[in-house]
Point group: C2
Chain length 195, copies 2
């Protein structure tokens, strides 16, 4: 299977993903589930988790086509609440941390908006999950099309793993792009400062 990491595929900045508890659910319940074939079921209610940040059209490779993307995507990043709560105490992502990256279209004209961009339909979901017993490298990525109800794990040979390993400032996650997470990790001494 080809790597379907939207962040790599689009040349976008690899916002790190994690997964945790809904604000309305018991905080330590698992926030992602798998079917009998080890496919991850599409996360639900992740928009009620802790939102970390949103980027706009971010990419970690320079533009080479000579023209700008006329319709950049928004990259919205969420982490499950129980993982976030543990992180605030330790500066580390606990086991069963889950990030969801939601990619949405950007829209200029609509209602009374005349300039800039607001958020449109979901284009893609990516999940980055830490599960020390399930995955040999602790973390794994999954990628969901807008209508997919389940997804296979992205093979560890794909670029997203190496990129997060090389450039993620905190335990393979892109904590440097999440303002509040970055500050907590700095205080706790867990942020790699050169990333």
């Amino acid at each position: 299977m080809k790597c379907s990491c939207a962040l790599r595929r689009r040349g976008a900045a690899p916002f790190a993903l994690l997964c945790f508890a809904s604000v309305f659910a018991a905080p330590m319940l698992a926030q992602v589930n798998y079917n009998a074939g080890n496919r991850m079921l599409r996360p639900v209610n992740y928009r009620e988790w802790i939102w970390l940040s949103s980027g706009y059209g971010t990419a970690y490779v320079p533009e080479t086509s000579g023209r700008e993307d006329p319709n950049p995507l928004f990259h919205n990043v969420f982490v499950n609440s129980a993982a976030y709560r543990a992180f605030l105490q330790t500066g580390k992502w606990p086991d069963k941390t889950v990030f969801v990256l939601e990619l949405r279209a950007s829209v200029e004209k609509g209602s009374i908006n005349q300039r800039g961009r607001f958020q449109g339909e979901v284009q893609h979901l990516e999940v980055h999950v830490k599960d020390e017993r399930r995955f040999p490298n602790k973390w794994a990525f999954f990628s969901f099309s807008p209508t997919a109800s389940a997804a296979n794990m992205i093979p560890v040979t794909q670029d997203c793993y190496a990129c997060h390993e090389q450039h993620g400032a905190l335990d393979t996650t892109f904590a440097q792009f999440y303002p509040t997470v970055r500050e907590v990790a700095k205080r706790k001494g867990t942020l790699k400062p050169d990333r």
Copy 2:
């Protein structure tokens, strides 16, 4: 006092604000407080509320200067969790609803990012709060500079009130710009479809 609504002042799309319960607090506790002089104290922990959407450089007046803003702001909108939970049931914002609009700088170059924008420092906070006993018109706006610990209510003669009244699709809020809120309000029949 001059209206300090950042959305109006910047000609930005008036993303509506509301206020609710932290995911870690008892859900019906008030999420904003006031001092003896009726000034609102700066909201805390609003980034642990429900995030509704983020816009990028949005504005509801056309560009007339002949050049684009080189550094558009991100507009991040949060609502308190208890209000959101009630909204999911009714399609309406309950009393004590609080929106926070967080305006952040946008940054292109940093870490490995080469294109697009990720989020930088807080530039401003706006609060839109529904409190039927405190405010004659039920809703009120407050505006906080990056370092302000308290703020006066913005007078009801300022543009932000009339604009939210005329263009907000749900009870003076810009529900049309928040994807999940928009869908719930549509289903509940509470969204004004022409806005």
